[in-house]
């Protein structure tokens, strides 16, 4: 039982980190019809900037806030100067965002050096609790809680606020939103900023979880995030959280029980979903 709970917590924590990256990706695709391959770069920048701020200030909370603000800033710059000129052209979007991904990764090496950087949680999140003989690692619980809080926050934003309503309407019919007097461009930037901020938060949380960060981490996680977006249904926010948990849990259990299949399991999962339900588990038929 101890093992199952720990594998589940591990899977949930990984799932939440992937969710933070995938949620922005799916919202950006749903609303703006943009395939952003640079999203992983924002995740890596969140990790580097946040942990650097953490090391300078000694406060993990300030590090997290710094990472989110870095994500917001990079999101605004990316949307305004990189993505905006290629709206509506998927081939150009893929090329330009892949290029940006490489630039963002290389910039990390220029600023912080090419070597891995070690990271550990703050003292109050180190160690574990013992509940009924089961060892529960504090930092994993912290990531899961942050993931759920962010999920609930974004759900609240989407369901209970006017801007959320406009975002949902924009996903369904961008043209009509504009014809109702709403500047969709501003909504695009807002969504891009929120998505980038969530990715950066995921990055800074990953550091102490995995123990090290490196410039290539963005691409590694971006692939998982794309798998999650496909499984959950392109553009479906709720689908992204459930698919992320599914991917996290399956990766965690397979890594323990069938280690040879642990790397392939996500691809396998995606292939099965694509065969049975090509629009994704929660996506609408297109």
């Amino acid at each position: 039982m101890d093992l199952i709970i720990n594998l589940a917590l591990n899977g949930l924590a990984t799932g939440m980190l992937i969710f933070l990256l995938a949620a922005g990706l799916t919202l950006i695709f749903g609303l703006m019809d943009v395939l952003n391959f640079a999203h992983g770069g924002l995740f890596a920048w969140g990790a580097y900037s946040g942990l650097w701020i953490y090391s300078q200030t000694g406060s993990f909370i300030i590090g997290i806030i710094g990472a989110i603000l870095t994500g917001f800033l990079l999101g605004i710059i990316t949307e305004k100067w990189i993505i905006k000129p290629v709206y509506g052209n998927h081939v150009q979007q893929i090329l330009i965002t892949l290029g940006l991904m490489l630039v963002l990764s290389e910039m990390l090496k220029v600023i912080w050096g090419p070597n891995q950087i070690t990271a550990s949680p703050p003292d109050y999140l180190k160690g574990s609790w013992e509940l009924g003989g089961v060892i529960i690692i504090k930092y994993r619980v912290f990531i899961i809680l942050v993931g759920f809080v962010i999920f609930a926050g974004v759900q609240f934003l989407l369901k209970k606020t006017k801007i959320g309503l406009v975002v949902r309407a924009g996903v369904m019919n961008k043209e009509m939103v504009q014809a109702l007097g709403i500047n969709i461009q501003r909504v695009f930037m807002f969504v891009f900023m929120i998505g980038a901020g969530m990715a950066a938060l995921g990055g800074v949380l990953l550091g102490p979880y995995s123990g090290v960060i490196h410039a290539g981490m963005g691409m590694e996680f971006a692939i998982l995030a794309f798998i999650v977006v496909v499984i959950g249904g392109m553009g479906n926010f709720k689908g992204s959280v459930l698919a992320a948990i599914l991917v996290g849990l399956s990766g965690s259990f397979m890594a323990y029980y069938v280690p040879d299949l642990s790397l392939a399991v996500n691809m396998l999962l995606m292939a099965i979903v694509l065969i049975i339900r090509p629009q994704g588990l929660f996506g609408a038929k297109g």
Partner: protein, 236 residues
């Protein structure tokens, strides 16, 4: 004093490589219903989309209340007081009727509340299905929602594209009655294939053929001109 609320002057619009509008000119007088008539593919829908800035004009001018609007983005044009009911109704299928209305509301004031009351009184079905997703409404109810959304703000001009399309005759009558009631409060440009509806509601008409305005006059004149009806509208 010039009574024109909207004026199009030699407007040309390209969609990709196609030259759809090749010289559309007309004037819309305040308080009137101007009907754009013509065969399928003549350019009536593109004319409305060009006014809204959804397919910007490549030549010519669109003037609203004396101000050139042809280069403005769609949302600015809408905010200037033009409501748009597209041919496909543009309903947000996953949002409830209430949410569809909330997206549309630009000002949360007493005047908007009054207009909302008036429009819900006109279309009681919308109130009945207030919490139902827009995608589950019938064709007629979707049309009512689309018109209500355009009307709820204090728009001085409504552009309504083929409101009778695909609707049962009894629903067409209901939609027609509602537009007649709105006539007293706002100016309307109506694109309509249903001549009975167009001739009942319209004050003046413009015929668009092959992307050009080819004729205009009062609706009374058109009703009496059998040759024009046959030539441009295919009505025997």
């Amino acid at each position: 004093m010039n009574n024109d609320l909207l004026k199009l002057d030699k407007v040309e619009t390209h969609i990709g490589q196609y030259h759809i509008l090749q010289g559309v000119s007309f004037e819309v007088k305040k308080g009137e219903v101007t009907v754009l008539l013509g065969r399928n593919g003549a350019g009536k829908t593109t004319t409305l989309r060009t006014i809204m800035g959804l397919k910007p004009a490549s030549k010519g001018s669109v003037t609203f209340k004396g101000e050139a609007i042809q280069s403005l983005p769609t949302y600015t044009i809408a905010k200037k007081g033009i409501g748009y009911v597209p041919e496909d109704q543009g309903i947000f299928a996953g949002l409830t009727v209430e949410e569809n209305m909330r997206v549309a509301i630009q000002k949360d004031d007493e005047e908007t509340a009054k207009r909302m009351d008036w429009i819900l009184h006109l279309f009681p079905d919308l109130k009945r299905f207030w919490k139902k997703p827009g995608g589950l409404l019938s064709g007629g109810q979707k049309q009512m929602l689309s018109i209500a959304r355009a009307y709820v703000n204090e728009n001085e001009l409504l552009l309504i594209d083929e409101p009778s399309k695909g609707l049962a005759p009894i629903v067409v009558e209901k939609v027609m009655d509602s537009i007649i009631q709105m006539k007293d409060q706002t100016t309307i440009v109506l694109v309509e294939q249903n001549f009975m509806m167009a001739s009942t509601i319209g004050d003046q008409f413009y015929i668009i053929d092959d992307g050009r305005t080819v004729s205009h006059g009062s609706m009374k004149q058109l009703k009496e001109n059998e040759e024009m009806k046959r030539k441009y509208l295919g009505i025997a």
